[in-house]
Symmetry: C2
């Protein structure tokens, strides 16, 4: 097996993905410690890897300052994310997995290296635009269309919309949403916001009312 310049190790790919996620959710510039926390490693290990990724021109790295992704690095990260999300769609749509069961498996599948494979999988799945958690899937050129969504916690009274994403992917959280009937596509109307504890009373699918905690309301994303 040969390894081209355009291929990166399993570990390098995970770092790139982590940097991408951090730089899009927090500040553009990502710190060593942030990466260490997410990848479950020590800061010293991260520093070593940052040097390596910098040598490969995948990140812009300034000692003690932090990193950003280069164009190449960003493309590589988006490609991994594309693969991860397409595999998640496959697992749910074709193999009958639940949305809380697919993350770890997709975490392995995302490192399979074949452009032909992933493009054919994309077609086989009907070129889906979002994964089972509502996260957008980059197309084969790396273009990603982020839909405008707000958290239930940010909605005003009597506003309504459709659950279209989540900002927390843990199994325990997703299973709870299942139990409460708060899956993707569900219609939600904000009845009342409780100031005391941040909980929100919502109407689900224009039927029953339910009170959800601030923690829940913060992590459910709505398209108005």
């Amino acid at each position: 097996m040969f390894k081209s310049n355009y291929m990166h190790s399993f570990t390098e790919e995970n770092y790139l993905k982590t940097i991408y996620h951090l730089s899009t959710t927090n500040s553009l510039v990502v710190s060593t410690n942030q990466i260490a926390e997410i990848t479950n490693t020590k800061a010293a290990s991260v520093t070593d890897m940052l040097k390596k990724l910098s040598d490969k021109k995948l990140i812009n790295y300034i000692r003690y300052q932090g990193v950003t992704l280069t164009e190449n690095g960003k493309n590589a990260a988006l490609n991994i994310i594309r693969k991860h999300r397409l595999w998640e769609v496959f697992l749910v749509e074709k193999l009958g997995f639940k949305w809380d069961e697919v993350h770890d498996i997709a975490e392995e599948l995302e490192h399979i290296n074949s452009e032909m494979l992933i493009n054919r999988l994309d077609d086989f799945l009907g070129n889906p635009s979002a994964d089972p958690h509502g996260d957008p899937i980059p197309d084969r050129k790396g273009a990603i269309q982020q839909k405008k969504m707000i958290r239930i916690s940010e909605m005003n009274q009597s506003e309504c919309g459709i659950i279209s994403g989540v900002s927390e992917h843990s199994s325990i959280f997703l299973k709870l949403l299942d139990k409460l009937g708060l899956t993707l596509g569900t219609h939600v109307l904000v009845r009342e916001k409780i100031e005391f504890d941040g909980s929100v009373i919502i109407q689900i699918n224009e039927q029953i009312d339910q009170t959800i905690s601030r923690e829940l309301a913060k992590n459910i994303l709505i398209m108005l």
Copy 2:
């Protein structure tokens, strides 16, 4: 990510698979050099790995003598082979790959670790009994039913049967079979065996006659 006792590294898995293949096609006891050749490594590296696999009770290893798989080792190998072959079926049946294009991708996919995934994939594919090359797929308990097949080179004049497997998996060989119309399921009748060079004149699908070389005849497997 945690790693249980029942999980083996990517590399260990490849050694187990190689030992399984060698011990079923050649002699039961496999030598260091044989493994080195197949895995594209040096004998010294193989020796190191054999010690490790022996410590893990996956092989029976006697210095200077060779190795056999233990029960555990055999099960591990069969599981990898099961995964490899199921993924090959998926690639061909669902994603439209040709039978000569799937080996390298399946080589990567076979290391994805999830029993649930592979069992669901098995069901999704309709529990196939053979892969696109006719090789039998072990069931979830590791049972493998080897069909009785003979090479065209071993057939007698006027014998006939169905192409049901190949003993060579290179892309160049499989593409040639495509070109000659010698795909799985094809009916073959032996018209004449040429003593001079071992070539064989066969009738294909009860229609046209074709001469194939000894090299070809040796690697096409027929069910009578």
